[in-house]
Amino acid sequence: MGKTMTEKIFSEHIGKDVKAGEIIVSRVDVAMVQDGTGPLTIKEFYNMGFKDVKVEKALLFIDHASPSPRKELSNSQNLMREFSKNTSAYLHDVGEGICHQILVEKYVKPGDVVVGADSHTCTSGALGAFATGMGSTDVAIAFGLGKIWFRVPETIKIIVNGQLNDGVYPKDIILEIMRIIKSDGATYKALEFAGDCIEKMSQDDRFTLCNMAVEAGAKTGMIPADEITKEFLESNNRGKDFRKIYSDPDASYETVLEIDASKLEPLVSMPHQVDNVKTISELEKENIKINQVFIGTCTNGRFNDLEVALRILEKNGKNPDVRLIISPASKDVFQKALKEGIIEKFVELGAVVIPPGCGPCVGIHQGVLGDGERVLSTQNRNFKGRMGNPEAEIFLASPATAAATAVTGKITDPRRFL
């Protein structure tokens, strides 16, 4: 019997064959925390008596409240700065961007084991790595011992064949998967995306799929590392980090789900749960007024996302009643968007461009909603209170649907503006 990507990566790491279901202790290649989870990691790290980090790439990111809107957060961020001076952990400070984006741009290699004190750590799985979110204390152990325990997960294979129609995007694919398997449909499992649609998909779009694996309860989302992965790494001056990673053809999957991409239409996730998904044609009839549109995050804040959104907004203008907030996912994305004139055009359109980081997605700052207000966001989560106000409603969609909605002020099918 062959191995899944997960079984291959863990077998390599511990030097013997492992199968799904086993509990193992594996070396980790990359371990990271962010400013919401890092201060607790540091406290527990010292509590356990550790002095220095034993992971080759131990990383700290200040991206959640970035720059800090409150003194309490400023003080806890200083704990992270101090930790990076006293250990060999490296800090990415305010303005550098979202941890998951920087991880894929600069650090994660195909075949790596990555743990992060952030649930969307699964994003890096799109590079053919095993990447998963854990709590602060687990990552403190990973920092201190260079290893941590795992239960090797079973894999659910999701085969996406066919070509997406114009106006339909990878975000719609993952929302369709959420609609089908629901918020606990993949609990404890790894998702592996395959099929001709995925094989042709750009690396940036692949990150959108893997980013949201955790919304189905999955431990990680993975995509084989192939020529597209290689080109992505090369474009980030990391061509030497490439190697092929894929599941054996006779690997054992728990279940296989098939999706025909050509049959999809734009989808929207409704408040207050990600798996509460409706089609844009159903929703347009409801005339749902939107007060704020947010384009950014680790899900959809990459260059191609900004480009797609601008294309629609440039031709049609922004509705004056909509507050449009744009956040590039990283400094690299920001600089590229600046060079290409995209940021200037967004500003001309009346958008507010905020620094690379998590922005309003985590409910701390930079766009908290009023009571009874609605936001359409390109982020991954819409739980009650997520964006700082439990009396507000959050809708999730692709950057194209977000842009179309910013044009009209109500939830709108982007195919009207093709």
Binding site: A117, G133, G135, T137, Y188, G217, G385
Partner: protein
């Protein structure tokens, strides 16, 4: 043996409901953060909950963010155990890591708000004292039980320095 009174919650209680993002600035002051535990799911829960009380919920308890603060403030509020039909993965791991026992039980619908329960983690039984029913559940795996007995993984690592029972 854990004994306590039940607080009943529904399905899909997210970590955003348990530890809302608008109190992000209190994450370094868990006692203050615990004053807001679950407030978006049940008003005044933090004020009403008594030491030893038990949370009983539906499916997928703790979905969402990896914030370990969520199980920590449930424990700090005095809750002795969370019973649910299922748990989200990161929450389950975090709860064991900080010494908050969890029970996966199919029959949560037969338990009501205010019922008195008695839970035997080692043998895998929940007794509903109010209704005179006993339920069996799959006991927590040995390795995690060992972490719980140390009141969390920090003490476990302090004691063993590593994971002695799991082969490298």
């Amino acid at each position: 043996m854990i004994k306590g009174r039940v607080w009943k919650f529904g399905d899909d209680i997210s970590t955003d409901l348990i530890a809302p993002g608008r109190y992000f600035h209190l994450r370094n002051d868990l006692v203050k953060l615990a004053e807001h535990v679950l407030e978006d799911a049940m008003e005044d829960f933090a004020k009403k909950v008594q030491k030893g009380d038990i949370i009983v919920a539906g499916k997928n308890f703790g979905l969402g963010s990896s914030r370990e603060h969520a199980p920590r403030i449930i424990k700090l509020a005095g809750v002795s155990c969370v019973i649910a039909r299922s748990f989200a993965r990161i929450f389950y791991r975090n709860a064991i890591n900080i010494g908050l026992p969890l029970v996966v039980l199919e029959e949560v619908n037969e338990i009501e708000q205010g019922d008195e329960l008695s839970i035997d983690l080692e043998n895998g039984t929940v007794e509903n004292i109010t209704r005179g029913r006993i339920y069996k559940f799959e006991p927590i795996p040995d390795f995690m039980m060992k972490i719980l007995r140390e009141d969390g993984i920090t003490n476990y690592i302090k004691k063993y320095g590593d994971f002695p029972e799991v082969a490298d």
